[in-house]
C-alpha cells in the first residue's frame, strides 16, 4: 500500500481513470510540498549552523527562533523587481532557473523513500532502471546553470559557465564508475540491480563499508555536483561576481539559490541511499523514512562543515584532481568491487 493506491482509493467514487489521474496529480503536489519544506529546512539549518560555527546567533528575530525568517526572505525576493539585462538571449535566460528547479524536483521524484508507519511506502517512481533515471535527472541541473551563464551576455557569467562545464566534465566519469561498482555489488543479490529500491534493500551491510574508496569518490563528486565551497568554481563568489547567476535578481535568483540548497539535500540523500544503507535500520522496518532522514541530516551537517571550512580550489587543480586522481581511484574501486562480488559474495 503506497501513497498512490491510497489516493486512488480515496478518489474511487469517480471512475477508475479519473481517480488515478487525480491520484497522480495529488502525489505530485505532495512531492512539491515536500521539496519546499526540505528547502526551507535546509536554508534555515544552514544559516543557523553557519552562525553557530562563526560564534554568532543567526536568525532569531522573525518568529520563534527566527523560523519565519525564510518566509520573510521569500516574500522579499518575490516582491523584488526581476531585472532583465539588455543583451540577453531571452528564452534561455528566462527558462534557465526553471530548468534548475525542475531538475531538482524530478530527482526528488525518482528517489526511493522507504516506508513510513501507516502511510506505507513513500516511493513515487517504480522503475526497473531508476538508477539511470536518477543520474539522468541530476544531470539536468547543470544545463540550466550553463544556459544562464551563456545567455546573460556577461563576461563573469560566461566564465562561470565555462568553469561549471569543466567541473562537470571532470567529476561525472568517476562518479558514474563508482556507481557502476555499486550496481555490480548489488547484482550478486538481486535480479534488478538498476532498480534503486532493490539496490538499497540488497545492502545487508551498507555498501560504504566494503567500498570506502567509492564512498569517498562519490561524496567528493556530490560536493562538486551541488557546487558548494571547495568546488564552487561555477559560482566563484567574490571572484566572478557570482558566476552564472550574476545577472539574475528577484525570484529567478531565488530559484538558483533553492537549487543549490536542494541539491545539497539531494546529494546527501543519494549518498545515504547508495552507500549507507538508506532506509534500512536496526529495529522497525516501518520507520524506514525516519532512518533515511537521520542519515541524510547527519550527512548534510558534514557537508556544511566541509562548506564552511575548506577554501575554493582552483579550476585547473580540480580538473587535474578529477582526471588524474578520482578516475584511477574509482577504477581501482571498481576492481575491488568485482573481487568482492565474485570472491566473497557480500
Amino acid at each position: 500500500m503506497d501513497v498512490l493506491t491510497r489516493l486512488a482509493h480515496f478518489f474511487a467514487p469517480l471512475t477508475h481513470y479519473v481517480a488515478y489521474i487525480l491520484a497522480y496529480l495529488f502525489e505530485s503536489i505532495f512531492l512539491v510540498i515536500f521539496v519546499t519544506i526540505v528547502l526551507v529546512f535546509m536554508i534555515y539549518l544552514f544559516r543557523k549552523y553557519m552562525a553557530r560555527v562563526q560564534l554568532r546567533i543567526g536568525p532569531n528575530r522573525v518568529g520563534k527562533f527566527g523560523l519565519l525568517q525564510l518566509m520573510a526572505d521569500g516574500l522579499k525576493l518575490a516582491g523584488k523587481e526581476s531585472i532583465l539585462p539588455k543583451g540577453r538571449d531571452d528564452l534561455p535566460f528566462r527558462i534557465a532557473p526553471l530548468i534548475v528547479f525542475i531538475g531538482l524536483v524530478m530527482s526528488f521524484a525518482i528517489l526511493p523513500y522507504g516506508d513510513f508507519y501507516w502511510i506505507g511506502s513513500l516511493t513515487i517512481t517504480h522503475s526497473n532502471v531508476s538508477v539511470i533515471l536518477l543520474f539522468a535527472a541530476i544531470a539536468i541541473m547543470p544545463i540550466g546553470e550553463i544556459l544562464a551563464g551563456v545567455s546573460s551576455r556577461n563576461k563573469y557569467a560566461i566564465l562561470g559557465a565555462l568553469r561549471g562545464v569543466a567541473k562537470d566534465v571532470s567529476f561525472e566519469v568517476p562518479m558514474m564508475i563508482s556507481v557502476i561498482a555499486l550496481v555490480m555489488m548489488a547484482s550478486a543479490r538481486t535480479s534488478e540491480p538498476l532498480n534503486l529500491s532493490d539496490l538499497v534493500s540488497s545492502q545487508i551491510i551498507p555498501f560504504g563499508i566494503p567500498e570506502v574508496i567509492g564512498l569517498l569518490v562519490f561524496f567528493i563528486s556530490m560536493i562538486a555536483r551541488a557546487s558548494y565551497s571547495p568546488f564552487d568554481m561555477g559560482e566563484s563568489d567574490s571572484e566572478l561576481v557570482s558566476g552564472h547567476s550574476t545577472e539574475y535578481s528577484g525570484m529567478r535568483f531565488g530559484m538558483f539559490y533553492m537549487g543549490l540548497f536542494g541539491s545539497i539535500f539531494l546529494s546527501s540523500m543519494m549518498v545515504s541511499l547508495l552507500y549507507l544503507g538508506g532506509y534500512n535500520g536496526p529495529f522497525s522496518s516501518d520507520a524506514g523514512f525516519v532512518y533515511l532522514l537521520i542519515k541524510t541530516v547527519v550527512l548534510v551537517l558534514i557537508a556544511f562543515t566541509v562548506w564552511l571550512s575548506v577554501p575554493r580550489i582552483r579550476i585547473d587543480r580540480f580538473v587535474n584532481m578529477g582526471w588524474k586522481y578520482l578516475l584511477p581511484i574509482s577504477i581501482i574501486n571498481l576492481i575491488i568491487a568485482g573481487i568482492i562480488t565474485l570472491g566473497v559474495g557480500l
Binding site: 553557530r52 560555527v53 560564534l55 554568532r56 546567533i57 571547495p230 571550512s309
Partner: protein, 144 residues
Amino acid sequence: MIEVKEPKKELPLVGTLKAMWIVGKHIFQKPVTTQYPEERKPMPDRFRFRIFLSLDDCVGCTLCEQVCPNLSIHMNKVERENPRNKRKIYPDVNFGTCTVCRNCEEICPTDAIYLTHVFETSRTRNSFTYSPDELSLSEDEVIK
C-alpha cells in the same frame, strides 16, 4: 638574513580534515554576540558620556564655553532665579560634536557641569543640542 621555513609536508586531505575538526569544534562554543537592547555587557566604572548640568550650582562663568575644544558649548540666556548666577546664562551642549574630553568637568569651579555614565542619547531629530533645561534632566525625562 631571515630563513623562511618550508611548510611541513602533509598527506593530502589531512589539512582539510584538521580544518573541518576545528570548524566543527566551534559548534560547542558559546556565541559571542550581545543582543544589545535586551542584553548589555557591563560598563567600565569610569566610562562617561552624557553631560549633566546642575542649574542651581552654575554661576555662569563661561569657563566651560572657553575650554571646549570643539565649540560644542554655548552660553544661553535662561530666565531663572538664582542669586549666584546674576547674568542668567547657562551652557547648552551639542552632543553631535562633543568628544567627551571632560575639560568642562575639570574646569568648572562649582562642579555644576559633570559627565554621567548614560550613553543612550540617540535622537530622531537632527538637532543634537541639549538646552540647559534638558541638560539638568535625566535622559528618560528628556525623551518625554
